[in-house]
Amino acid sequence: MSTDRHIDDVKAGETLDPIDYPITVYRLVMEAGANRDFNSIHHNSRYAQGTGAPDMYANTLFLMGMWERLVRDWAGPGATIDAIRKFRMGRFNVVGHTTTVSGTVLSVDPETRRVTIEVQCADEQGVTVGPGEVDVTLPPRS
């Protein structure tokens, strides 16, 4: 995904291509090593269940990374990610399920080239994270 998206090409209401993230133990372990959140709730079923969770679950930076990939794949390498807001983890993203991240353009400001995208994660039972917002600045066409 290396094609730039320009501010002139974007309209409010446009949807971003959703991305599926199967949550496996293997992936959770890779993610813990990658972002240094080694809390056992994210890679140990028995430990996670002892804290009241149904099973081990995705950590915060894994979920935020899903949002970043969704937006970066859509916006291209010329975009700047400016802010993430309302990133609310309402339910656990539990091992053995698939988290799907999706988004819709909420607003476009041609003057500042700022685009606000509504983003959320969901599993088979509904929304798990968000809906929140990501602000990006897109390049002009020329």
């Binding site: 990658a34 240094r36 140990n44 430990y47 804290t51 009241g52 970066r72 609310r88």
Partner: protein, 192 residues
């Protein structure tokens, strides 16, 4: 009449608006480098060339490979163990926890002791991109809110703090508001 477990949080609620940190910058263990960027991107499978290809990054005006925006917090985390420190693994039980970890609730201030802890909300303003070679740290932990609440996993409180992520050249590169739920799990078999 307020439940006693809720009143236990009053000393923490009294600190809302104050900085819970000592004001020092807590520096990450490592500078931003290409290998840790790659490892961060592997499980999320993000392939933008600004994170992998120096020439591409420079074509987009960056002086070096770009750290993923959401990775900045990871670069502020200190080492799990450093030379001269005692072992971090003194218990052989399968689920034993390390003696020290930067991701915990080990400095709760006057809050009551809790055994469960997870993040619930985050908001981040990214003030500029971060590149390979920079070192990041976190500064400040201003308590914005503390709300005791019983949930399906236990009894505790939601706490929101605000911190800056700073670079070693002095720039504030991000501002972050983090909410966590610190709690004691319901006893096993409880229907709460």
């Amino acid at each position: 009449m307020t439940d006693p477990w809720i009143r236990d949080w009053d000393p923490m609620i009294d600190l809302v608006g104050t900085d819970l940190s000592d004001g020092e910058i807590r520096w990450g263990a490592d500078r931003v480098e290409a290998g840790t960027i790659r490892r961060y991107l592997e499980p999320i499978e993000l392939g933008s060339p600004i994170h992998y290809d120096l020439t591409a990054a420079q074509q987009y005006g960056h002086p070096g490979l770009v750290a993923p925006a959401t990775s900045l917090l990871a670069y502020t985390l200190p080492a799990m163990w450093s030379p001269g420190q005692p072992t971090n693994f003194s218990d052989s039980a399968p689920d034993a926890q390390p003696d020290r970890t930067p991701i915990n609730n080990a400095d709760p201030g006057p809050a009551p002791a809790t055994t469960g802890f997870f993040a619930t909300d985050m908001e981040i303003d990214f003030l500029r991109p971060v590149h390979v070679g920079e070192r990041l740290g976190s500064r400040g932990r201003r308590l914005l809110a503390c709300t005791p609440k019983e949930t399906r996993v236990g009894r505790g409180a939601f706490m929101t703090t605000e911190s800056d992520i700073v670079a070693d050249n002095g720039d504030v590169v991000a501002r972050m508001r983090t909410s966590v739920y610190a709690y004691n799990p319901h006893p096993t078999g409880s229907n709460a």
